[in-house]
């Protein structure tokens, strides 16, 4: 219950940040050209694009929800389901499989108590299987977000996971509100000027 409450608060906070973003940028751009930037912002804020956000964008930018949905489903970058902060891809291509990729995957499942395709309850880790990352000579290989791990042995898994968990805690201390407000994308800078 508490967790649900927290998620709800976070999402409400993100919704108001999203509304703020649109208010700042709306006077500067045509609604249609703003949509892409707004969806990027939404994905950043929520980690995915919830229906409420689509409804809000539709209202503020006068763009039909059906068209926004079309845009979201066209691009892989956007997701309609919550995405983990750290997406793990374990290679099960031929080379990696032969040199123990399956054992790596088993250990990850144990450590994270996850099945392939799922996301941990705290939204930190997601587990996926991929076919080839293009470095078979260094197998077995796995990838966490953009970071590639080579010659992975199952014993190293707890350490790697602990590293990313710690990273998240560090990050959290630098945050504004519940979610990170990076300020590095050009949009909110311009918005502040307007």
């Amino acid at each position: 219950m508490v967790k649900k409450q927290q998620v709800l608060e976070k999402e409400n906070c993100s919704l108001s940040l999203l509304a703020e973003f649109m208010e700042q940028t709306r006077p500067l751009h045509d609604a249609r050209s703003l949509l892409m930037a707004t969806l990027h912002r939404t994905q950043e804020l929520f980690g995915y694009i919830p229906r409420q956000a689509v409804e809000l964008i539709s209202e503020k930018l006068s763009i039909p929800a059906a068209h926004i949905y079309g845009m979201i489903t066209f691009y892989n970058y956007f997701s309609l389901q919550p995405r983990p902060l750290y997406q793990i891809h374990v290679c099960k291509g031929t080379a990696c499989y032969v040199s123990g990729g399956a054992r790596v995957l088993e250990r990850l499942k144990q450590e994270l108590k996850l099945e392939v395709g799922q996301v941990t309850e705290d939204g930190l880790f997601g587990l996926n299987v991929t076919r080839c990352l293009g470095c078979c000579g260094l197998s077995p290989v796995m990838q966490i977000n953009e970071n590639v791990y080579v010659r992975v042995v199952p014993e190293k898994i707890p350490e790697i996971i602990a590293f990313w968990r710690k990273k998240k805690e560090k990050k959290a201390t630098q945050k504004v509100g519940a979610f990170e407000y990076p300020g590095k994308s050009g949009y909110d800078k311009r918005g502040k000027k307007g």
């Binding site: 689509v54 006068s62 039909p64 079309g70």
Partner: protein, 594 residues
């Protein structure tokens, strides 16, 4: 206007056209019809189907003629053997990802894809491959969407967006998984779809069709315990002949009545009777609002697509809607109360059917508030297309049918009711009555030419007992969206506005017959002929004002007492509700004129 002209050669013939024309338009101007599926002259150009490819000398590849602009000295060929083969291949590729069920498809014999396949002599399928498979959506009471039959031409998406401003449909996903549907892939019943059915007129295949209720009606007709009563709308009688080869606008009222009797309907009534009733109530409501500081402008409420549009997109205007039910629903309520009482029939054995040019009427009849007789007021709604199918099924020929009269007493109507079928008609009919009610004078001319025509938004000022009344007529919901937005910002002010969902009014309804091959849906000259048919019926009528209909006078004397009275309030008026999801859309750049 010294428009810049460009000369080019198409199939060896010189042609000079405005510089911004496309090859397809240039070819059209000299009578060359290039086959196409995704192109429509009133919609934006998509260039999606590639069937209209032509050969242009000097270009490496064939180019789609619908979206290639002409240039000086261009040499175009539209019919080389290789081009014909290429087109045939493109059609074959479309067919490869299409179910092979033409014989059992509701568009059998009336399908653009099918007739193209026939035209190109496709006799075998050589590109057999994986087919897409999506679930069909039967959730809507009005429209069925079967994505497996969709060829992704996008005409439905564009008509829903550009003409109707509803935007219920959009492309989603990508590549092989591309699909057309409402936001979040929700069922249509949970979307902002307003059931107008324009998509079913524009769809070149069986992907979007009306919900077929004929089986329900056949069952009722065969039930000996039921008294099956039918009403037919004004716009149906001038279009029902089209699937049987009659030109648009042919008045087949009498033959349709005869056909309905042959089909086994026990009583055949005229929705025009209740259109007269609507005018009585609506004109009085308008006068009441004008004299009692009521909410203005008042909007007409006969068009169920518009009602749902208002509920989704402009709930702030719900109080401006006339509370009058549509003629279909008034008739439904009267049949199961007044008529049943008069004829001493138990209303529970009455099965009430209506024949409408409209798919949205199916939804309207099923609204929970439309049960004021104590039963569902109208049990089944058939579109003009469905009636044509029923008539074909039992092999009736219009040419062999005598003209018959409607049954009494709900078959008597005036010319004012007939023109409900054309944009501007409801307003004109209301004025014919309101003017005389307010001033007590006789109108010298009953034709209000200033509100007729096919311009998207038409305005007029009428002097009514020393007061100037500002009225407007609007058809097509993208125009309506603009009108409402501008009323809100104060750019437009009116007292009374007629709004029709479909371009042209009911005569262009989503349930009307599709035009024959090589004629586009929503073709202006086609609609003009239907309109001419309607105005001709009106001008031939002896009584052309609703309040002079003797049966209307009688029903008020015997049953309803007076317009806006307690009984009419209960039976003939309704209420509206804010509907979820809220719809948002931007205003189209220009007014859409038919």
């Amino acid at each position: 206007m010294n428009e810049k002209k460009v000369s080019l050669t198409i199939d060896g013939r010189q042609v000079s056209v405005p510089a911004e024309s496309t090859i397809m338009q240039a070819a059209e101007s000299i009578g060359i019809h290039i086959p196409r599926l995704c192109y429509h002259s009133r919609l934006s150009v998509a260039g999606a189907c590639r069937i209209c490819v032509v050969e242009v000398e000097g270009m490496k590849n064939y180019v789609p003629s619908c979206c290639t602009q002409v240039s000086e000295g261009m040499m175009v060929r539209t019919n080389t053997a290789d081009l014909l083969r290429t087109r045939r291949d493109i059609i074959e590729l479309l067919l490869d990802n299409h179910p092979q069920d033409c014989q059992t498809c509701s568009r059998n014999g009336d399908c653009e894809l099918q007739s193209l396949a026939e035209q190109f002599g496709i006799r075998e399928r050589i590109f057999e491959g994986e087919k897409k498979h999506f679930p069909a959506d039967y959730s809507s009471l009005s429209i069925v969407r079967d994505p497996d039959k969709c060829i992704l031409c996008g005409k439905c998406v564009r008509v829903c967006s550009e003409i109707q401003g509803v935007n219920a449909l959009s492309f989603s996903h990508r590549g092989f998984r591309t699909n057309v549907g409402p936001a979040f892939d929700l069922p249509a019943a949970e979307s902002v779809c307003i059931n107008c059915g324009q998509c079913t007129l524009f769809c070149p295949t069986g992907a979007l069709t009306e919900q077929d209720d004929t089986e329900k009606v056949w069952q009722a007709l065969n039930d000996p315990d039921k008294i099956v009563v039918v009403q037919i709308a004004p716009a149906v009688r001038v279009a029902i002949g089209e699937p049987f080869g009659y030109p648009p606008g042919t008045d087949l009222t009498g033959q349709t009545v005869a056909a309905l009797r042959r089909l086994g309907f026990d009583r055949v009534f005229d929705t025009q009777f209740s259109a007269d009733l609507t005018i009585m109530e609506e004109a009085h409501e308008l006068i009441h609002r004008l004299s009692h500081n009521g909410k203005l402008p008042m909007f007409t409420s006969c068009s169920p697509g518009w009602i749902k549009f208002c509920e989704h997109f402009h709930p702030e205007f719900l109080e401006n809607l006339s509370t009058c039910k549509s003629p279909q629903q008034m008739m439904g309520a009267i049949i199961k109360t007044y008529y049943a009482e008069k004829q001493k029939i138990d209303p529970s054995v009455i099965y009430s059917v209506s024949i409408m040019p409209c798919t949205a009427k199916k939804f309207e009849a099923n609204r929970p508030e439309m049960r004021s007789s104590g039963f569902q007021d109208v049990d089944a709604v058939l579109t003009t297309r469905e009636l044509a199918r029923m008539i074909k099924k039992i092999g009736l020929k219009f040419s062999e049918l005598p003209g018959e009269e409607f049954d009494d007493p709900l078959g008597e109507s005036t010319g004012a009711a007939t023109i409900f079928g054309v944009t501007g008609g409801v307003l004109e009919a209301a004025l014919r009555t309101a003017y005389e009610l307010v001033t007590g004078d006789q109108l010298l001319s009953l034709d209000f030419h200033q509100v007729r025509g096919f311009e998207g938004i038409r305005e007029a000022e009428i002097a009514l007992a020393g007061k100037k009344i500002r009225v407007a007529v609007c058809h097509g919901l993208s125009n309506t969206h603009r009108l409402l937005t501008e009323i809100k910002t104060g750019q437009r002010t009116y007292h009374f506005v007629e709004i029709m969902t479909c371009p042209g009014g009911c005569l262009g309804g989503g349930g009307q017959p599709r035009p024959p091959e090589k004629t586009e849906p929503m073709d202006r000259s086609y609609y003009e002929k239907r309109a001419a048919g309607i105005y001709a019926i009106d001008s031939k009528k002896v009584i052309r004002q609703s309040h002079k209909n003797p049966q209307i006078k009688k029903i008020y004397a015997e049953f309803l007492e007076k317009p806006l009275g307690a009984r009419s309030h209960h039976l003939l008026h309704t209420r509206y509700q804010v509907r979820s999801p809220r719809g948002f859309t931007s205003v189209r750049e220009d007014i859409f004129n038919l």
